[in-house]
Structure formats: structure tokens, C-alpha cells
């Protein structure tokens, strides 16, 4: 019996070691790219490209629902992005507040009968289209009946008038150079690159001035602080590593850019899937592989979209459940891609990795946690009653648990080091110590909670309960 207990514990430890080892490999791959990338940027000729008359136009799509409080600031930030041929399309998805009215008044907009260039069906019908009389007249508003975020994006894709479409969340803030950087791969390899994604970083605790993050600081609140290191590991390291392998599966809905013709061909965003941004990328991979088209989805580590992460457990729980349910739905929908050589690295490496180490990890973690608690109970029982089974060997249990946590801390520290030798966005020792502390503290409580919430996402998917976004309340950026 004690042998069984030991090997089950070993199984969990090996699983944990494999996840962390795979992250170390991804970090190694990412590091090769990241270290030189930033230093090379100053010679990459962005100024020349900015001045080029034939650069490809970008339509920035901003779906908005009840965003009256922040929409003006977000639109100001988007319209002032540095890019030669840019339009911003705000899609008001049936807001109950004054989102449209505020925009119309602030940007002096008038109703214009814009003709949709695409014919992706939408659930909510388009009510009216507006264009700003200010500046370059490159701000449009599409008012439509409520149909959800994906539906709003589809209406935006239909009304976009540029070759490339960039999707951003209405509450994201982009670095001024972000579009120039993220659109660059489309100019480098026009026929091959079909989508590109940038880094999403956490802006909680930092100063925001006129829609720009000006004074980057580590958040003081533990929940936000832990998410900083989590985003760093997932976005900067994970995605850079997968991109290097040619197997980038996810582009964040908070900041991604696509070829419009392909989006129209693919039928736009899926409105019946909660993780529509990731689903779109997987569908693009699938369509392109099935048509034997040589194409690339790339990750650009420097363009940054700043987001405010949830600072309360309630909101975070809703978000993580939704994310994980979205991932589960994608796997159900595209399960035929798994272990199929025709889908290349995506089918043979990325999707299996996501299946075992991302989708199923909350199941393993929750079961592991339950098992650990059970062992503790047995341990307590053995102290008082001689069962003769000798089920638990406390030193071994303690060592395996410690090793597992330490490995996880080690991986996060390596990710912090990768950030330090490449982009170095944070300054000063106090912020560094906060980041190191977050690398440790995320293992005590946060990971277990997160696993439980994600486990809930799988259960929701299995029960096929109705999709709902929940109320994603944010505290707002620290403005000057």
C-alpha cells in the first residue's frame, strides 16, 4: 500500500517536473530571440517604414460594451498611435450606457452610410455608422444591437477598410510604436505572414498619462503582483518560445493583427465559442494546413498592449473560468488536429502540449491537492492509531512537494532574468524584490485557487451551461 502511495506521489512530481522543464526549454528558445531583439530595433528602419507611401493600412477594431467611462481616453490613445495609414473602428455592441453619445460628442461624429466590404453574418444588426469630422477622418463608429464581443468584431471586420485588421480590447493601452512593430512582419513577408500577436503586460500600479503607461511599477496588491510574473512567463516567454518553434497557437484578443482577406474567407470570429480569439488562430492554422498553404503566425515581443488585470478574486475567478472553458471548447472543436502530421508543429507538438500541460493541468492539480490532503489525514491518523499500513513517509512527501514548488519558482526566476537581460521594463531594487517575492508567493494559495477556477471552466464546458461574460469590473488606471 505504501508503495502505491509513493508512486502516485512520484507521478504528480514527475508531471510537475515535466511542465516546468518544458517551460525551461521554452525560456531557452525565447531567450535566444529576446536578448538581441531590443538592441536591434534601433537599426530596423522604422522611421523609413513610417514614411513609406506604400505601407499596408491597418484598421484597429475596438469592440465596446458599456464603456462610456473610459472610451474617450482609449480612442484618443488609439488615434494617436504612430502608423502611416491607420483607421480606428469602434463597435458599440448595444451599450446600455452612453458609450456612443459620448464618442459622437467628443469626436464630432456625423452619420455616414458606410458600406460593409465583408459579408460575415452578425447576430446583432448594424443600426448606424458614423465618422469623425476631426483630423484625418479616420475614426469610425459602428452602432449595432448587442451580440457579444465576437459578433461586434465581425461587424468591425465587415466595416474595416484597410488590408490589415488589428483587434484590441477597448480597455487596453498600446505603446505608441506598437502598431509599427507588430505590422512589420506583414511588410517583411507579405505573402506568408497571416497573423501576428504582441505582448500583453500588466499596468496595475503603474502611472498612466493621456492613455500612455509612463511610470511602470510593480503592483502593491498581491493578486495583481502575482499576475505580473504569470503574464511575463506566459506571454513573453511562452509565446516567444512557441513562435520560435513555429507553433504559436494563441494570439491574445487584447492585441492581435490579421490579414483581413483571410478573416473574411474564414468567416470571421466564432460567435458560439467563448475563447473566440484563440479559436480564430487555431482555425486559421487548420484552414491553411488543409489547403496546404505555406503561412506563418508570428509573435513580436516588443509591441506592448497594457491591460488592467483583475484585482479581486471574484473577477479573476470569472476570467480564468472563461479562459479555460474557451480552451476546452477549442480542443473539442479542433480535436482532429491533435497528433496529425499534416498540421505540422501545431498538430504534433503545440496542441499535445496544451492538452496535457494546460488543459488537463487543473485536473491533475486539483486531484493532486486532494490526494495531498488525504495523505495529511492519513498522517494524522497514523500518529494516533497504529494502522500497520505505513501509508505515508513524511520526509519523502515533504521533499517531493518542496522540489516541485522550488522548480516552479526557479522557472519564474529564469523568466524574470530573461526580462532583465532583454526588455528591462522595470527599474529599481524594490520592484525587483516584489517580483521575486511574487515568484514565491504565487505557489502558496494562488496556484491552487487558479487550478480550482480553471477546473470549474472544464466542468462548465462539460455541463454545456450558457456562455456568459460575467461582470468584469476594473478599478481603472492610475491617471495623471
Amino acid at each position: 500500500m505504501s508503495t502505491v502511495t509513493f508512486w502516485v506521489a512520484m507521478g504528480f512530481a514527475v508531471y510537475s517536473a515535466l511542465i516546468n522543464l518544458s517551460y525551461l526549454v521554452l525560456t531557452g528558445l525565447a531567450l535566444a530571440d529576446l536578448t538581441g531583439y531590443r538592441r536591434r530595433l534601433e537599426y530596423a528602419g522604422y522611421d523609413e517604414w513610417f514614411l513609406q507611401p506604400n505601407s499596408r493600412g491597418v484598421s484597429v477594431l475596438m469592440p465596446a460594451h458599456n464603456e462610456a467611462a473610459n472610451i474617450v481616453q482609449s480612442v484618443h490613445a488609439m488615434t494617436s498611435l504612430r502608423y502611416p495609414d491607420l483607421e480606428v473602428v469602434v463597435i458599440d455592441d448595444g451599450s446600455a450606457d452612453s458609450t456612443s453619445e459620448v464618442l459622437i460628442a467628443e469626436f464630432d461624429m456625423v452619420e455616414v452610410p458606410l458600406v460593409p466590404g465583408g459579408h460575415i453574418p452578425t447576430k446583432g444588426s448594424v443600426l448606424s455608422t458614423w465618422v469623425s469630422r476631426r483630423g484625418a477622418h479616420n475614426l469610425a463608429l459602428v452602432r449595432k444591437a448587442n451580440g457579444g464581443k465576437a459578433d461586434a468584431l465581425n461587424a468591425g471586420i465587415n466595416h474595416a477598410r484597410k488590408e490589415l485588421v488589428c483587434m484590441v480590447d477597448a480597455d487596453s493601452l498600446l505603446d505608441p510604436q506598437a502598431l509599427l512593430n507588430v505590422a512589420r512582419p506583414f511588410a517583411d513577408d507579405p505573402g506568408r505572414v497571416v497573423a501576428a500577436g504582441g505582448v500583453v503586460r500588466v499596468a496595475n500600479g503603474s502611472r498612466v498619462d493621456r492613455g500612455r503607461v509612463t511610470n511602470l511599477r510593480m503592483p502593491r496588491r498581491w493578486l495583481a503582483r502575482v499576475q505580473v510574473v504569470e503574464y511575463l512567463r506566459a506571454f513573453l516567454i511562452g509565446r516567444a518560445g512557441w513562435s520560435r518553434l513555429g507553433g504559436l497557437l494563441i494570439i491574445s484578443g487584447a492585441f492581435g493583427i490579421f490579414r483581413k482577406d483571410l478573416l473574411l474567407e474564414a468567416g470571421g470570429m466564432a460567435t458560439d465559442c467563448i475563447g473566440e480569439d484563440a479559436e480564430l488562430v487555431v482555425r486559421l492554422h487548420r484552414t491553411l494546413a488543409e489547403s496546404r498553404t505555406s503561412a506563418e503566425v508570428v509573435f513580436v515581443p516588443e509591441p506592448v498592449a497594457w491591460t488592467e488585470v483583475p484585482s479581486t478574486r471574484r473577477v479573476l475567478r470569472v476570467q480564468r473560468r472563461r479562459w479555460h472553458r474557451g480552451l476546452a471548447e477549442i480542443f473539442v472543436r479542433h480535436r482532429r488536429m491533435l497528433f496529425r502530421p499534416r498540421y505540422g508543429v501545431i498538430g504534433m507538438v503545440t496542441m499535445p502540449w496544451f492538452l496535457f500541460f494546460e488543459l488537463l493541468s487543473p485536473v491533475v492539480e486539483v486531484v493532486g491537492l486532494g490526494y495531498f490532503l488525504l495523505l495529511l489525514v492519513f498522517l494524522g491518523v497514523e500518529q494516533w492509531v497504529d494502522t500497520g499500513l505505513d501509508l505515508v513517509n513524511p520526509p519523502v512527501l515533504l521533499i517531493l512537494l518542496t522540489a516541485s514548488v522550488l522548480f516552479s519558482v526557479f522557472v519564474t526566476l529564469v523568466a524574470l532574468l530573461a526580462e532583465e537581460v532583454s526588455f528591462r521594463r522595470y527599474r529599481g531594487l524594490p520592484d525587483l524584490f516584489r517580483a521575486i517575492y511574487a515568484a514565491v508567493e504565487e505557489n502558496i494559495g494562488y496556484r491552487q485557487l487558479n487550478a480550482w477556477w480553471r477546473f470549474g471552466g472544464i466542468v462548465e464546458m462539460l455541463r454545456r451551461s450558457a456562455h456568459h461574460w460575467g461582470d468584469m469590473q476594473r478599478a481603472g488606471f492610475d491617471q495623471t
Binding site: 538581441g36 537599426y43 523609413e48 506604400n54 526557479f410 526566476l413 524574470l416 532574468l417 528591462r424 525587483l432
Partner: protein, 353 residues
């Protein structure tokens, strides 16, 4: 060694690993923050002098020039990068003076040396600086950069070669861009800076591409056509028009765009013929080109395209009609076709109140 022992050793190793990484993080943060503060301190005073050299007047400039020539190595290092970035933005005497300062600081020697470095970043810096200084004697060094083993260095060399208005350079650049499609944008940016000097060579290559008809030739031809439109080589119209006959669609679109950019009314007939092409991208490019030419006798051709099945082609035709003077604007005003109404509404936004 049993499993328990292995796990213990692994745990101890991980503890050591975490401590080492933490130490590296702290040291790196301390050293880099300190270096940055020090550089900022040195830089602020010297950078003011550099700016005075670029935009000052009379004696101020002479004084700044003298100060910069006697700058210490630390001061030079603190502003050298920014000074190289500033140089292309300056014109006339200011540019000349700053260039002299950078040469006196050994910028040319160091840049040349950097191009042979093992580090791709250093080679990029070397090529970039050679391009900024634009010393004719370093041309061949940059041409060799087109064959560099790293793409980013090849790109930097391509951009840097835009400072050398020389037909031989243009030919080598065209070869490199045709062999590596990723260099297209950089090739065009450089040709844009070189200007009309590039036109004769590009024209010859376009003519050759029309004869060769192979894939590589088509790529060269497409690049040459795009570049000819960009530099405004109006004497290339004939060869560009020849590119509209029986060529791959991308090649054809490049020729159409170039003819539009050149804007000669003599091209209207050949561009009008392309409005019946089965590929909507070709039709759209033709409508846009006709709009760029903007002559009244294109109105009839464009009016027929307003009802094209492809909305982007119809929109391009409506926009083109608006550019064709009063006859075109009258068609738009009277039309009930949705794209025409859209263009009419958007145009009214631009009209002065």
C-alpha cells in the same frame, strides 16, 4: 542511490539554482541601473551641446564644435548613439558639422570594424553607421552586408545603401531583394531615398524581366516596377505599359500602381483595359491608378465599374471618380449606388464648413 536521495539532491540543486538566479537578478539590476544613471548624468550636458551644433547660430556653433571635439571618451560614448540617430534628420551645414564631429571621434573606423564582428547586433550597428556617414569609400563594405549571414544585418545594410545613389548599388540591391522577398520594403525605402538616379537601371531590369518570364525574373520586374513608380520615372511609362500584357497578376498590379503613381494621362486607355480583368485585385488597382491620374476622360470607364460585384473595386472606382474633377464628382452626386453615397458623404466631411 534511491529515489528519496535523488529527490533530496534535486531539491538542494534547485535551492542553489534559485539563489544563483536571484543573485544574478539583483546584481544585474544594480549594475544596469547604476550604469544608466551615470550615462544619463554624463549625457545630459553633452547632448545639449550636440543639439546646439545642430540648431544653434554663429558663435554658439563654433563653441559647440570645439567642445565636442575635445569631449572625453565617456562623454562621446554617452551621446554617440543618439548623435548617429540625429544625423539623418539634419540638413546642410548642421549635418556636415555633426558628421565631422562623428568622424573625428573615430565613428567611421569603429563602424567599419563593427561590420566584421561576430555579434549580429554589432554588425547591424556598423552597417547603420556606415549608411549614416555615407562615406563613398565604404560602399563595398555595405554591399558585402547584403550577403550577411543574419537577416537583420542584411536588412540594415539594405537600408544603409539608400545613402549611396549609384547604379551599381541599385543593381546589387535589386538582386538581393529579388532573392529574398522579406527585403522588399527596405529595398523600396532605400530606392525612395536614392531617387531618379536609380531609374535607368531599374528600367533595364524591368525590360529584361518582361523578356525572361521566369519566376525570378517576374519578381525582379515587380520590384523594378514598384520602384520606378516610387521615384517618379515618367520616361518609364512605355516599359511599364508593356508589363500589363500577359504577365503574372502581382507583376501586373505593380506596373498598374506605378503607372498610377506617375500619373500620366496617356496611360488611361491601357489602365481602362485592365478594369475588365477577372482578378478583382487587378481591377481595384486599375481603378485606384485611374483616380491618381484623375483625368476627366477616365470618368466613363470608371462609371461602369461602380457596379462591380466586388465592393472594394466599386469603392476604389467611386473614390477615383471623385478625383476626376467635376465630371467625376457629378457622377458620384447623382448615383444611388451605396459606395457612391458613402464617398459623397465622406467627401462632404472634408469640405470646409
Amino acid at each position: 542511490m534511491n529515489v528519496e536521495r535523488v529527490a533530496l539532491v534535486a531539491t538542494l540543486l534547485l535551492v542553489a539554482g534559485c539563489l544563483v538566479i536571484t543573485l544574478c537578478l539583483v546584481l544585474s539590476r544594480l549594475i544596469k541601473d547604476h550604469a544608466e544613471r551615470r550615462r544619463q548624468h554624463v549625457r545630459s550636458s553633452v547632448w545639449r551641446v550636440v543639439l546646439t551644433l545642430g540648431s544653434g547660430e554663429g558663435e554658439e556653433i563654433d563653441e559647440a564644435y570645439a567642445v565636442l571635439l575635445s569631449a572625453t571618451p565617456a562623454q562621446r560614448k554617452a551621446v554617440e548613439n543618439d548623435a548617429f540617430a540625429l544625423l539623418p534628420k539634419l540638413r546642410g551645414d548642421s549635418r556636415q558639422r555633426l558628421s565631422e564631429v562623428l568622424l573625428a571621434w573615430g565613428g567611421l573606423r569603429r563602424a567599419t570594424h563593427s561590420t566584421t564582428s561576430r555579434s549580429a547586433v554589432r554588425r547591424c550597428r556598423g552597417y547603420y553607421r556606415l549608411g549614416v556617414l555615407a562615406e563613398p569609400g565604404r560602399r563595398d563594405q555595405l554591399l558585402r552586408g547584403l550577403d550577411d549571414r543574419d537577416f537583420i544585418a542584411r536588412r540594415t545594410a539594405m537600408l544603409a545603401l539608400g545613402s549611396f545613389p549609384d547604379p551599381e548599388v541599385v543593381e546589387k540591391m535589386l538582386d538581393a531583394a529579388a532573392a529574398e522577398p522579406r527585403l522588399r520594403g527596405d529595398f523600396l525605402a532605400s530606392i525612395d531615398r536614392i531617387g531618379l538616379v536609380a531609374a535607368p537601371g531599374l528600367r533595364d531590369h524591368l525590360a529584361l524581366a518582361l523578356e525572361s518570364r521566369d519566376e525570378q525574373g517576374a519578381r525582379r520586374g515587380r520590384l523594378a516596377a514598384e520602384a520606378l513608380g516610387l521615384v517618379g520615372a515618367t520616361d518609364s511609362v512605355e516599359v511599364l505599359e508593356a508589363g500589363l500584357a500577359d504577365t503574372p497578376d502581382e507583376f501586373r498590379i505593380a506596373c498598374i500602381n506605378a503607372l498610377g503613381a506617375l500619373g500620366l494621362p496617356t496611360s488611361i486607355i491601357v489602365l481602362g483595359d485592365q478594369l475588365d480583368h477577372p482578378n478583382p485585385d487587378v481591377r481595384r488597382a486599375s481603378a485606384q491608378a485611374l483616380g491618381l491620374i484623375g483625368a476627366a476622360h477616365a470618368v466613363e470607364l470608371l462609371t461602369a465599374v461602380l457596379e462591380d460585384d466586388n465592393i472594394e473595386v466599386a469603392r476604389a472606382a467611386a473614390n477615383a471618380l471623385h478625383r476626376c474633377g467635376r465630371p467625376g464628382q457629378r457622377v458620384i452626386r447623382l448615383s444611388t449606388i451605396p459606395v457612391a453615397r458613402e464617398v459623397q458623404a465622406l467627401t462632404s466631411l472634408r469640405a470646409p464648413a
